[in-house]
Amino acid sequence: MHNPEHNIKTLQAFGCVDEKGKPYNLSADARKFYGAVAMYQMKPTEENRRIMQAVSEELARKFELAIVVACAGEFRSSVSAGQQWLNRRNKGEEKGKFKKIKLKNGVEDAAFYFDDYYMMSRPRGLGMYNRAIRIKHRGDDGAQRTSSALTYKQFVLDPYGYEVGLRHNVNFWRMQGGGGVGGLKWADAAEVGLRYVKGELTPMVFVDLAFNLQHNNAILFTKTHRRDGHIQNWLNKRQQAQPGWLIERAPQDLREAMGFGDYRSEAAERRDATTDKRATKFWTSEVTPEVVKKIVKGVKPKEEVLV
């Protein structure tokens, strides 16, 4: 189980936290985003479109950073993963595979001006690549070592490195060919971030795609966000959900801003009506909302309520 609280210092250092200094709440963000989309569908006014876009842009900023931080964290392992893969190749376990992958995926695309240096083909290729980024953007300050921590910091802190770093992630994990870290899901995550950084995705589409990103067996943002309840079930359910279901779960302030302050879906009205009808079979006195609430929760009413 991933717990972003364990990485709180890292998240705080990179500004990937809310105003209270805690990791972002993924469940609240999901309710906000999909609620705004549903409300705009129900009431497609210019004002609502503006609000929906503002919500998307706010979440896109958070998710962009979260993807970069998460990918950078995973990418720390790339040096050892690359070495393991290289060792296997040298032992003949990956016979014939290396050349094919190298030609197919063209690491030179990511490898910047290191045209003839493939990180997997030379043991120090990745280190040299990272050092090249550092020298290009910050000058050669004498840092010769490329530790995993340095990889992490360079990748996250260097704004020029975002695009290159993400592209490197995509190519690296796609050609990784096994191992205990990374994998194709990380390549997918980095690719979504990369496409947003390059301007190929709008904030709204990016946020929607980002909610679907996964690592090993969970939502990608379990590494960087808090979440309440069964967020995965919620995200699965939303795909087939009716707008009313989503609007009822949107934050109250957003609902009021988009003109749905006292909105009740038809399904909720029907549910209430059914509950009232059942209750009146057993109670001849007036059924107050408090009594109904107790029945719904399965709490046995007190005697004084009964006739």
Partner: protein
Amino acid sequence: MSRVELKGMGVVHGVVRGTARIANADGSNIKDGDILVSKMTDAKMVKGMIRAEGIVTENGGTICHAAIVALDLGKVTAVGVKGLLAALKDKEEAEIEIRYEEGQTQATVTVL
């Protein structure tokens, strides 16, 4: 020639008519003005969705991937159109009409 009418949920209002193309994995077979038809859409199809005049999917609800992209791009889109792929063949002419009916956005997909 028989007309087949299918119902689904609408996302963006309007009427479009064009050649329905069943999208391949990356949507590269969609040309400008086509209607993109698919069981579901995903991130790889976005470029095809941009070129398409309208989008129809067999599965999905009002906030599935196709609906979000359609809202953002302003494309006339119908989602959750049951029996779509059984009723529609590649390169057939089709029309999508989205309008409010009884407080809900209804989509009608007509295979012409």
